[in-house]
């Protein structure tokens, strides 16, 4: 194509600028060339001298190692060592300075050159415009080229593994049906402590007469005491001869198994993510390991505020592990796990996408998932043995919902009955369900009719959960007051104020109630129409976790230690 100069008048006007920038380009170009040449020479000289690999210094060092400790000789070696270091770093500094000079020179050179080109631009002299015509053949060639190239590419991708890749190093494992591990008998379940607040999460101990008296200072009735390796507010589980609890920090989220007889750590297992995970922001009084684990006697599961869900065999082998979406929870996820006939039930009331999930405990397969239209909650599920069968009860603002625990089918629900940030879990006794939250209400629901039978806003709890048995409802509070109601009518039998508040939930053992306060004192009183205090034994540290009661023994998790309390054999 021919070219056309800029109009003469414009050319003349721009000429001085053009000449100026052109000359500046020449000067900066020459300067850069000179710097470049000097740098090349210097680099060549530097590499030839190579002070870092000076052959003399190692020989001198060998002489020192051989025993030549003459002070004058040592001084000369030091001086020599300093000299070659200086040579090395001076050369480096020189090179770096030169590189910056070169960079600056080139930048100016390019700038002036570009301007010179722009000022000396030549416009094209095009031919006359003619009406374009369809070039079908050209278009078709383009289509074939694109298709052909793509086909070659896909073919290469297909063939590449045959020629350039070794076979996958692990042979494909055929999925073998794992033998189904049978569930323990019902009686075994009932005598152990498989979840938060024991069997079905109801807060009723399998033992009638645990110790009434112990003292951490004199070690009276303290069978053993073990340091807990990582912090957590979850409660211990007990299954036969093992005690389980979890702990977490920035480094890892870990399950610990202790020997129930001796307190020795049998094993510990962490989630696979380790420190390579972004931790959620959690409050200090919730932490990363607030949810209590759950076991069905075959496997034990733990969940953390990170969303990591880990299931292990009772021997500590990883059965399966999942990374659930990180809970959107401003205090930290705290809802405990519970199991039902080999199913792990996970209450996951996150700000986004709240749901209830069920996993096969042996395989980790998700069995079902139910979306929940609720706000964030910190409550835990319970299994209520109603006259119509077992029901899984969950509370969270604004709902109380009953699910069929095997299928997740909603059996009934009460809407707009509870509000606020709910921490306490519900209680159940004689087909009556009790739910509670501070600044909202305490209500009793007739499960058969699915109607609220009575309610009150007196002495409401924000953290500890109520417990009900034999027609009584015990409601603890974090400010130290405990109220005993008549479960059927809501009449207050008595209320008693203790010096210290409660975070742990009370447990009913036969005709006695054990309520562990935050200072480590166990408030033991009768389950009666009038308040009858029985004992106030204590351990020597603060407590927030609900204790476990198994076989005349009590397992208490303090802030730092795990205690086993029981009557010493004479």
């Amino acid at each position: 194509m021919n070219t056309l100069q800029l109009p003469e008048e414009k050319r003349q006007r721009l000429l001085p600028f053009y000449l100026l920038v052109r000359n500046l380009a020449v000067v900066s170009g020459c300067f850069s060339s000179a710097v470049f040449i000097i740098l090349v020479l210097s680099f060549w000289q530097f590499n030839a001298a190579d002070p870092i690999n000076d052959p003399h210094l190692p020989k001198l060092i060998e002489q020192i190692q051989a025993g030549n400790n003459d002070p004058a000789f040592l001084d000369s070696v030091r001086a020599y060592d300093q000299l070659i270091r200086k040579a090395h770093f001076t050369a480096l500094a020189f090179t770096r300075f030169g590189a910056y000079l070169l960079l600056g020179g080139i930048s100016l050179f390019l700038l002036f050159l570009k301007l010179a080109f722009e000022l000396h631009r030549q416009l094209p002299r095009p031919d006359k415009f003619t009406e374009p015509e369809e070039n079908q053949a050209k278009t078709r060639v383009l289509q074939y080229v694109i298709l052909g190239f793509s086909f070659m590419l896909v073919l290469s991708a297909f063939l590449l593994p045959y020629f350039f890749s070794a076979p996958w190093f692990m042979p494909a494992q055929k999925k073998q049906a794992r033998p189904v591990v049978p569930l323990p008998a019902e009686a075994t379940w009932r005598r152990n402590w498989p979840a938060f607040r024991g069997y079905h999460g109801l807060g009723i101990a399998p033992t009638q007469n645990p110790p009434l008296d112990w003292d951490a200072n004199s070690n009276k009735n303290i069978l053993w005491k073990t340091k807990i390796p990582k912090p957590g507010f979850n409660s211990p589980l007990v299954w036969e001869d093992r005690v389980f609890l979890s702990g977490a920090d920035q480094e890892s989220r870990t399950v610990f198994c202790f020997d129930a007889a001796t307190g020795n750590l049998r094993w510990q297992k962490s989630t696979s993510a380790g420190s390579a995970i972004t931790l959620p922001k959690v409050s200090e009084d919730t932490g990363l390991a607030a949810p209590t684990m759950a076991t069905d006697g075959r496997f034990v599961s733990a969940i953390f505020a990170t969303g990591e869900l880990l299931t292990l065999s009772l021997q500590g082998e990883v059965q399966w592990e999942k990374k659930l979406p990180r809970p959107d929870n401003h205090y930290g996820h705290a809802s405990s796990l519970i199991t039902y006939q080999g199913i792990l039930l996970v209450q996951y009331d996150s700000a986004q996408n709240a749901k209830l999930m069920a996993f096969d405990l042996q395989t980790g397969r998700k069995l079902w998932e139910k979306k929940r239209q609720v706000e964030i909650s910190w409550t835990s599920p319970i299994i209520a043995p109603t006259a119509a069968g077992d029901q899984l009860i969950l509370t969270a603002t604004p709902l109380v919902v009953s699910y069929q625990p095997g299928t997740g089918k909603v059996l009934w629900q009460l809407e707009e009955v509870i509000g606020g940030e709910i921490g306490p879990s519900p209680a159940f006794d004689q087909d009556l369900l009790f739910f509670i939250n501070q600044y909202s209400r305490l209500a009793c629901v007739d499960v058969a009719r699915q109607q609220i039978k009575w309610e009150t806003d007196h002495n409401l709890s924000d953290i500890p959960s109520p417990v009900a048995s034999q027609g009584y409802l015990i409601v603890p509070t974090s400010f130290g007051k405990i109220t005993c109601y008549d479960g059927a009518s809501g009449a207050v039998h008595w209320e008693h104020r203790f010096e210290t508040g409660f975070h742990a939930s009370p447990i009913i053992c036969g005709d006695k109630v054990y309520a562990l306060d935050t200072s480590g004192i166990m408030r033991i009183f009768k389950l009666e129409r009038t308040f009858i205090g029985l004992a106030n034994p204590r351990i020597a540290e603060a407590c927030a976790a609900t204790p476990a009661f198994v076989d005349q023994r009590i397992f208490i998790r303090g802030d730092n230690h795990l205690y086993c309390i029981g009557s010493r054999q004479p």
Binding site: H88, A99, P126, I146, L147, A157, P161, S165, T278
Partner: protein, 428 residues
């Protein structure tokens, strides 16, 4: 003038590489082997960029994009765009060391979907702002804000037009690169765009010899084939192109009506000017629809072939993941295929993680690659199909217009247009 150009060539090629070579020299001189009283200081990790700079960077990016849009659309000033290019080289390149750039931020965004990575505000905005501007004003980011593009812009001296078949074939590479970048970021295996960024080494004055050669090669190519990385590699350019295609306002060659003077016909260094299309076609509309229908019937086959073909690369690509390669190494050591230990395998054994857990993790990553490559293949098949469909179209253009997908809004074409904003024509 020829000698002058030769000098230019040598200097252009030598300059950016020299500092990188210089800094590649050994700086860790061994500590003295005899005892002294001197305590060697513990090396400290560099502090993360202060918040102030993060906000400053965002403000500067916003201002630069705004200025680029102003120069390209309102002011129609090539000089303004060109000056901004030099500013971008200095600020986004040398001052910010080319990081984080919107091109690489794409990977951060993808990786954030894994749930283990919280996306910083700066990264979100660096990724989104250029796209937002592209949606309103075309690829003004490419015009003069992108530090990678700016460096190539500075070396365009004798651009040539590539033959159309080559241009179309090379134009498929950014889609492949985009797919691979998304695949590696989504599997947590790495940020390939950053790893193979050919120009960031110049800005940091530090690069591996391979990347240095690649960068120099691209700059050398860029003298004749304008912006080779932007046109034939940049994965972010694909996204910008799509957004720019729907731009509310886009740079126009002429401010008024096109007079078909043909002055701009060869003005575009990246070959992004569409000439007027024919008014009469030899093939009938019915025939065209028939061809279109036949091709549509083949689209599922193209998608399936592409998906299956690329899924065959699962083992090859999964091995690039650090965890998978470690698992393979451990497996080789366990089965005596490999002798001795590596640093990685030693470190793994010190962690006391179970080998089975590592294998399980490697298998999980491999499965992710398998699914990802199927998606990648389907995506590539879709791209090919759409390209063919676009070629089948009859656009009905009457004037010389910028190709909205490929136009980088550099503004060169505007200078060639003799039509003034008041409609008058300048005599040349």
């Amino acid at each position: 003038m020829r000698k002058f150009r030769l000098l230019v060539l040598i200097l252009v090629l030598a300059a950016p590489g020299w500092p990188a070579v210089a800094t590649a020299a050994e700086e860790r001189f061994p500590a003295p082997e005899f005892e002294t009283q001197y305590e060697i200081p513990t090396p400290a990790h560099p502090h993360p960029r202060q918040d102030f700079f993060e906000y400053l960077d965002i403000a500067v990016l916003l201002a630069a994009l705004g200025l680029a849009a102003f120069f390209a659309i309102k002011k129609r000033s090539r000089l303004g765009l060109f000056s901004l290019t030099f500013f971008s080289i200095l600020y986004f390149g040398f001052f910010r060391h080319g990081c984080i750039c919107p091109v690489g931020a794409l990977q951060n965004v993808i990786f954030s979907f894994s749930g283990d990575y919280l996306l910083p505000l700066g990264v979100i905005l660096f990724f989104a702002l250029p796209l937002l501007f592209a949606l309103f004003f075309g690829r003004v980011f490419c015009a003069s804000v992108c530090p990678l593009g700016a460096l190539q812009e500075a070396v365009i001296y004798k651009p040539i037009r590539l033959p159309q078949p080559i241009k179309h074939v090379l134009g498929l590479i950014p889609y492949l690169y985009l797919g691979l970048a998304v695949l590696f970021a989504s599997t947590g295996s790495g940020f390939v765009i950053c790893r193979f960024d050919p120009f960031v080494g110049f800005y940091r004055l530090s690069a591996t010899p391979f990347m240095l050669l690649l960068g120099l090669g691209l700059l050398l190519t860029g003298i004749f084939i304008a912006r080779p990385y932007c046109r034939f590699f940049c994965p972010y350019g694909v996204l910008l192109g799509i957004f720019s295609f729907f731009a509310k306002k886009h740079l126009s060659i002429t401010p008024k009506e096109c007079i078909h003077c043909r002055l701009c016909e060869n003005a575009c260094p990246v070959d992004a000017i569409n000439p007027p299309s024919p008014r009469l076609y030899k093939t009938s509309k019915a025939q065209q629809i028939k061809h279109f229908g036949i091709f549509l019937a083949f689209v599922p086959l193209i998608l399936a072939t592409s998906g299956f073909g690329f899924s065959r690369l699962t083992d090859v690509l999964a091995r690039q993941d650090r965890m998978v390669s470690l698992a393979e190494r451990i497996h080789q050591e366990e089965t005596n295929v490999a002798t001795g230990n590596t640093l990685d395998s030693d470190a793994f054994r010190q962690e006391q993680t179970r080998v089975e857990d590592l294998y399980r993790q490697a298998a999980r990553i491999r499965h992710k690659f398998y699914i990802g490559l199927w998606v990648f293949g389907l995506f590539f098949g879709l791209v090919i199909s759409l390209k063919i469909i676009v070629l089948m179209q009859r656009p009905g253009r009457t004037d010389y217009t910028p190709d909205r997908f490929h136009c980088i809004s550099c503004g060169r074409c505007m200078e060639y247009c003799p039509v003034q904003s008041d409609g008058s024509v300048t005599e040349t």
